[in-house]
Symmetry: C2
Subunit: 276 residues, 2 copies
């Protein structure tokens, strides 16, 4: 039977590193989606927010803290991406999810137990496809604030009953490039170095929004251009002008003959992603 520990120090004192391999690899996943915030005014459209899936840790280390879903790689049987998909399947019960390798995080002290290298993945889903309930330790957090000031990025997460405030220092590694060194400096934070993984992933998504079609992985099959624009705006963190936006996405979408009505204002045409 598993022994119960009260503090992390007690746990580590008793921990036998030989039980683990000397070196392990995990795949951690930043699962991102877009959620709707209900509106009181019947005319107004619901506000959209980015949201991410976090899991509450049941065991030491970081017992009670929230972290990204992840799992240890089975070196004999699976690739890192397969490992990530296995974890995603457990959390969401979905199989065909957009997945992209983000970065490999390998600080010496990421995990107090032993050396654990983590390859992080970004996953995008349309929340409407979620049917079955996810595991009881998991919860969707809305990103209610993300703000950069004086080289510090503040992120506030909210799952309806709990608020998490993260603070990450962001400095250029090299003046010749766009690589940043992220350092978790918040009082609250996610387990391991997952605050840093979160910020890296969000910046990746923001960058790729401009030159890829990854947004459509977060959209339902039919959507209005207003909805699509809101998703752009929440990811980029700024308002866009209608005509400019419509020019940009004109060749990425196709108009259907469906309409969305009953919104208290002029109905809008439903569009669909135009695959190549």
């Amino acid at each position: 039977m598993k022994k119960e520990y009260k503090t992390e120090e007690e746990f580590l004192k008793d921990y036998d590193p030989k039980e683990f391999d000397q070196l392990s690899i995990t795949a951690d996943i930043l699962l991102v989606s877009v959620s709707d915030q209900e509106q009181t005014n019947y005319r107004k459209t619901s506000k959209k927010m980015m949201s991410i899936l976090l899991v509450k840790r049941n065991d030491f280390p970081y017992k009670g803290k929230w972290c990204l879903p992840g799992g240890f790689l089975n070196p004999k049987t699976e690739t890192l991406e397969e490992c990530a998909r296995r974890v995603l399947k457990n959390e969401t019960n979905l199989s065909h999810i957009y997945l992209e390798q983000l970065y490999t995080f390998d600080g010496l002290d990421r995990d107090p137990r032993t050396r654990v290298v983590s390859t992080a993945y970004v996953a995008l889903i349309d929340k409407n496809q979620l049917t079955e309930m996810i595991n009881e330790n998991a919860s969707w957090f809305d990103i209610v604030l993300i703000e950069e000031k004086d080289g510090i990025v503040d992120i506030t997460l909210d799952n309806g009953s709990e608020l998490i405030r993260l603070s990450i220092r962001k400095e250029l590694k090299e003046e010749t490039t766009d690589r940043y060194l992220f350092t978790d400096i918040g009082k609250e934070s996610l387990a391991f170095d997952h605050s840093v993984v979160l910020l890296s992933g969000l910046e990746r998504i923001r960058n790729k929004l401009n030159y890829t079609d990854i947004v459509f992985n977060m959209m339902p099959e039919y959507f209005t251009l207003g909805e699509l624009q809101q998703v752009y705006e929440v990811i980029l963190g700024k308002k866009l002008l209608d005509p400019a936006f419509r020019r940009i996405i004109a060749d990425k979408v196709e108009k259907t003959n469906k309409m969305k009505t009953g919104e208290g204002h002029r109905p809008s045409a439903l569009f669909r992603y135009r695959r190549k």
Copy 2:
């Protein structure tokens, strides 16, 4: 004493996987620089080419094949980047090299001995800084050709006495993104999956040329705009128009009062990278 093997099969038959950890991580490095090709015509400027450092394998697996320099991570003492710098120091005797994590390659059959996950790094240097001779198994290969046609990328490498022709299939992983699946399909190739690492790295450099200042890691302190333009052209694989190029880099460089003369034509001003 080490036993000598004649074939790879014989070697693998005798190989005891328990001698290795069940799972290992290596840092592999794509070290890229720019070399000058001598010109017969005294008026003409020397043509530039990209060149990369390869190492000839002394042992099985892939004995006799060329591969990227790399080394196993020591899980107790170093990060992957430190591991990469240690390898670079051995190969080039240089310490302050531009280094950037590229991607983590983790196919199940990358290494016939045991499961080896490799995190690849891209390193850029100015060849003029190289003084001491590198290790005797290492050699600089010029990229004499890189051509994409019908989803196949052909790369030809030349170190002066040996030609290597690589062929890699390139297909989009997902229609919504810019991620490619690379498959080595050449008769000749580099050891392990290093042909794929090479191509990934070259594409990374090409992309970053447009929105970062990484070129200057491959330039000497003083350079003419003609030289800089040639480096851009060889990396991008196309000619650029002078006025357009000068507009683009105008705010990245500063003119010095030095001149380059004796070239059989009008002398050119020497410029320097303008740090922020």
